[in-house]
């Protein structure tokens, strides 16, 4: 589904991502762990097309997308959420989702309205439909990020720390939504610090540290790995 071949990214002299190789199969839900500054978001930005890689190739569904613009990748089926949400603050919550359905999801205006209504219900935002997105509380803003990403009808969904800062109950609700999305056939890559949340859903876990993956595999094995403990858990 997605293949990173020797992908690198440097900011000035600092190599944040150094020749990373990664393969993602359809139907997976992969969790990405890593200490702060390990380059997780940089990796997402390169997959989504926000940042051009300094080197390497990114292939999505057998198409080289390395030089493709973010909006074209989105229309190909790559949806993403931002760690720091990017709501369209002066548009209503409904319009936020509608515009994603129109542009990323390629729906007609009427279709997009129906889809936006359904997605708002699914993400628990229906009661905020007419609230300007800038006035939403944190949880709702995170739900809106997810709602917008779903509206583009992704086949690959990139989630960037979507569970951070949520209470236990809120986190459960979010996990339920993500599990539903996964069951509907969307492949997911999920950056998260909340390990217990990741463990409940992911099929594979990958740990990013020092510019590359230091461990990739089944969640139990990866979490038991000595290098992972040193790099991430600090023991």
């Amino acid at each position: 589904m997605l293949e990173l071949a020797s992908v690198s990214r440097a900011f000035g002299g600092l190599r944040v991502i150094d020749k990373v190789d990664f393969r993602l199969e359809p139907g997976e839900i992969v969790g990405i762990l890593g200490p702060n500054g390990a380059g997780k978001t940089t990796l997402f930005n390169m997959i989504a097309g926000v940042l051009p890689p300094s080197g390497g190739r990114i292939v999505f569904e057998n198409r080289d997308v390395t030089a493709m613009k973010a909006w074209d990748r989105c229309r190909l089926g790559i949806g993403r959420t931002y760690q720091i949400p990017k709501p369209f603050t002066h548009m209503s919550t409904f319009e936020n989702v509608m515009v994603a359905a129109i542009h990323g999801g390629r729906s007609s205006m009427a279709q997009a309205k129906a889809e936006a209504g359904a997605i708002l219900a699914r993400t628990g935002l229906a009661r905020h439909a007419l609230t300007p997105a800038g006035q939403l509380a944190l949880l709702d803003t995170k739900q809106l990020e997810l709602a917008k990403a779903l509206a583009v009808k992704p086949r690959l969904l990139l989630l960037d720390e979507i569970a951070g800062g949520l209470t236990e109950a809120e986190c459960d609700v979010l996990l339920g939504t993500i599990a539903d999305v996964y069951k509907s056939g969307v492949t997911i890559v999920w950056i998260e610090h909340v390990i217990h949340a990741l463990r409940r859903l992911v099929t594979r876990l990958a740990v990013l540290s020092g510019g590359g993956f230091i461990a990739v595999g089944a969640p139990q094995e990866v979490l038991a790995d000595q290098r992972v403990k040193e790099a991430y858990l600090g023991t």
Binding site: C74, F88, E95, V99, H103, K113, A116, G117
Partner: protein
């Protein structure tokens, strides 16, 4: 049950509609001086609407918008005075020339972003003005007047001419508003509105930022060009520094839009009204008028980034001209009141 904000909103919508209808009949009840001022108001409104679309939505903060006004003015003179076409068909042709000139200008300035783009647009405008000054048939550096035959073809009596130019400006301003309204309601428009609020976020949900920018830049040029033609009809002459006036066609316009509320449909309209009110009632203060305008715009920005309209909008349940899309399901609509009150 109508609440106070909703009542206010209905009142404003009625007022807006009434003013538009009254303005359509302007020359029948305004005296000639007023007709001239309102014509000028309508031309400036067109420029404000266009700058708002570029800077407020597409993030093309141009300070070279006067380029296309000047190109329109010179093209209008060329078609009507030099080529001998009738002045009415010279107006859309002037718009077309502005569009054609906009293509290479765009290719040049779109290589730049933000402040560099602003400077780039300014340089393009200055270059075009200097080129205009080299055109001998257009009177060179000192410019020239519209031939009397063209002036008379608009109407034999002065008041008839003023009325004709008034209606041309009214038609252009109405067209600018219609086009903006339908653009903002369209698929591209909702994408533009998303860009206004968060460009990276818009790209991430599939909005083609480049295409939206191109569309705005090329779409505004003909309107600017036609406004330039109408301004020339009113001023009766062309000259490089006057037809390409950065102060009148760009700087004041930026003030208007910023004061009125950038990135909204109502903003440029409110800003242009405020500008004309200040100008008409404070003009005896001379330079102080401009100092006040500058101070006023700084104060407005410090209080509310989205201008007077942003400030006023807090009291209302909806926009005066509702460009936003509403959910279609009745269940969601019925919750509207509680959502806006919370």
């Amino acid at each position: 049950m109508p609440t106070a904000p909703n009542l206010l909103l209905s009142g404003l919508r009625l007022l807006f509609a009434a003013v538009v209808i009254a303005m359509a009949a302007g020359p029948y009840f305004l005296d000639p001086t007023e007709v001239v001022i309102v014509t000028e108001f309508l031309s400036m409104l067109v420029l404000a609407i266009m700058w708002n679309l570029l800077a407020g939505y597409a993030d093309i903060v141009t300070v070279g918008q006067h380029a296309f006004v000047g190109v329109g003015a010179y093209a209008f003179f060329g078609f009507s005075a030099l080529a001998g076409l009738d002045p009415y068909s010279s107006i859309p042709l002037a718009g077309l020339v502005a569009l054609i000139i906009a293509v290479p200008a765009m290719i040049l300035v779109f290589r730049l972003r933000t402040a560099y783009l602003a400077i780039g647009t300014w340089v393009v405008a200055e270059v075009l003005m200097l080129v205009a000054g080299k055109l001998q048939a257009w009177g060179g550096g000192s410019g020239t007047s519209l031939p009397i035959s063209i002036v008379l073809s608009l109407g034999r009596a002065r008041n008839d001419r003023l009325a004709v130019i008034y209606w041309l400006a009214f038609a252009l301003a109405a067209a600018a508003m219609f086009v903006t309204y339908f653009l903002l309601r369209s698929r591209i428009g909702v994408g533009l509105t998303a860009m206004r609020d968060n460009e990276e976020g818009a790209a991430a949900i599939g909005v083609n930022i480049t295409r939206a920018r191109i569309l705005c830049f090329l779409g505004t040029a003909p309107f600017l060009g036609m406004a330039g033609a109408i301004i020339t009809m009113q001023k009766l002459r062309i000259a490089p520094p006057a037809s390409f006036s950065i102060t009148d066609f760009t700087v004041f316009i930026i003030f208007n839009v910023v004061i009125g509320g950038i990135g909204s449909f109502e903003g440029p309209i409110i800003g242009t009204i405020v500008y004309f009110l200040l100008r008409e009632y404070l003009s005896e203060l001379g330079t102080w008028n401009l100092i006040l305008l500058g101070t006023f715009s700084i104060v407005v920005i410090l209080i509310e980034r989205r201008g007077l309209w942003g400030l006023f909008r807090r009291l209302l349940a909806d926009d005066i001209v509702p460009v936003a899309h509403k959910p279609t399901q009745p269940a969601v609509v019925s919750r509207r009141l509680s959502a806006t009150e919370s």
